[in-house]
Symmetry: C2
Subunit: 399 residues, 2 copies
Amino acid sequence: MNIDALFSDEAKRMKRSAIRECLKLTQQPDIISFAGGLPSPSSFPYKDITEISAEVIANSGAAALQYGTTEGENLLRDELVKRYLKEGCKVTRDNFVITTASQQSLDLLGKIFVNPGDTIICELPSYLGGLNAFKVYGANFIGIEPDELGMSAVELEKQIVKLEAEGKKPKFVYIIPDFQNPAGITMPVARRKEIIKVAQKHQVLIVEDSPYREIRFDGESQPMLYSLDDQGLVITLGTFSKSFCPGFRLGWIIANSEVLEKFVQAKQTADLCTSAYLQKIAGLYLQKGLFEKNIGNIVAEYKDKRDNILRCFKEYFPEGVTWTHPEGGLFLLVTMPEHIDSDKLFYKAIEKKVAFVQGYTFFCDGSGRNTMRINFSYADKKTAEEGVKRLAEAIKEML
Amino acid sequence: MNIDALFSDEAKRMKRSAIRECLKLTQQPDIISFAGGLPSPSSFPYKDITEISAEVIANSGAAALQYGTTEGENLLRDELVKRYLKEGCKVTRDNFVITTASQQSLDLLGKIFVNPGDTIICELPSYLGGLNAFKVYGANFIGIEPDELGMSAVELEKQIVKLEAEGKKPKFVYIIPDFQNPAGITMPVARRKEIIKVAQKHQVLIVEDSPYREIRFDGESQPMLYSLDDQGLVITLGTFSKSFCPGFRLGWIIANSEVLEKFVQAKQTADLCTSAYLQKIAGLYLQKGLFEKNIGNIVAEYKDKRDNILRCFKEYFPEGVTWTHPEGGLFLLVTMPEHIDSDKLFYKAIEKKVAFVQGYTFFCDGSGRNTMRINFSYADKKTAEEGVKRLAEAIKEML
């Protein structure tokens, strides 16, 4: 039987990505990997999870193990409301839907907004998992190269006006304002306000994807895009994958009630509801103040690891290599001399038992061939130093 | 801003269903509900889950709380392989992808196979959650009325030939062979073999959705469609939602490796992976033999509840009302005299504080107006008797 003939257009747009094959190589046990986006296992609150798991079963087991509502558990949404009120966001429980982590939020975004050929404006580079989710629905991308403050509002408006002249409108503008993945840039408040002004003037939706917001090492927290808009134009995605643990697969979407209703409908056919057991554990974890406490540990550990890797870059990388200095998060972007192709470097690095992700996979236009994304949250400091040494050798051999 | 203009075609096909609004009514605390598909909370293995949760964190916490593979945890897939080998299915770990419960499996089916206007052949009636998932992708349905042995293979072939004459092919045939939801019919082996013969002759995919298979009260287990096919034409969906607990959101898809690869790609953008923590708990639960032990309890409890409700029907329902006698599962279908409209009956029943699901919602052609689906797994026997009494009164008032 010719199975390919049966597959849908969406299925035909899916590909086992080259990058996924590369990631397999990075999982060999003797490889030092800067490739994934794995949080440090030492940051997981094992004891708290064991205790709260038992507490949830003892106190509300029948509901925890039953079907839940599509919108999500009330306790968890109420605890999230508290957090976002502190951020200056005008939200109630009804602005939230709990998702099976951010990847589902990204998929639902594509599902409810994107028809084949629709345009999404994003940063150049931007998060691979988001771009891939939108691509399945047939999205076209306009990538805006950031300056040191992130996406330029002037360039954004120029692109929107250009689309308008063609009778089009972007379905949304996808922005990672805090410790951008992979570029590591954080957008300051002035730029955020400019972006919101453009969005309001042209009535364009902004998607604020902010998975790392809590993990800030230096500088001051910048107001959320959601808090700067009073017209319901911002959709914000949050997740526990980096600030608590990815194994719980818990994320959330915040949106105005009209848009949220559509997300709920989409989630209902996508997976009905997210585990009430895990939501109840996470809700209690927040309510007991354990989340705040543990974030302090994560920030301290990752800051130390970032400082270490920046020091190693300076010590070992040859001249002509530059890198970003993120104020938080898990990633930074390394730029090599123009003629160095990160694909070739990748295989040379694998020979030396060290891995990264080729930066161009994050550029919707295929540029950034001479860049690599480095994760600094996973490897311990000594391992990271050895990894940077090996990487430096690989780069030097290509110069 | 006109948000409706931004929504995709998929989003426009989603609707907050009337049935969902009805289900809200059924959740009032003083209502006796036969409406949902809730397993009995007394069937959940609370103590085992608490103990195994702690064991998983203690022994493999770092992996349990980390990102997992898209395909799913090896222990869980290996334990499932053992179960299906006993069923005569030729499978290895690589035929399985773990999903965020069956609703995700149904959604991924729609995603990878259905373009707008494509045809799916299903039973009449069939599972609402499946039909809704496929509908979002723009599926058209051909419903085949079952005889007492389930879907007729003769009628199936007739419909396939008719499509072939139009140059079309169904994307798949959706069948619930065991304790069909909502009709309660189980397809005997002879009919299963006829269905597979038709599928092989016309090279058509069969989707075997079997969420209740383990919950058999009477009669003999019939071989799985998957085990009767040697050409890779059957895709089987399984879930722990009825046989363990729905709160874990764990299901699986079994398929030939080519089709499975596409499911894995689709799941990767849909939600990356399903909770490793919950998969590890479920894997150990199976490995320790606790699943088998608990299924015995579930079967005993639901059999008792089925016997009770059948007795109550006989005692209280007026003449002219008939019902199915399922050999297992959680549901049965009640048929009332032709002129009784289940929508009108629904609101009358709600006044009397009893609820069911209008049967026509399970009929892809909108027929079955005079039917209702009754869940018998949730309410205890005394409550169920009171519920049937009230339902009988409502029916009598409409005669």
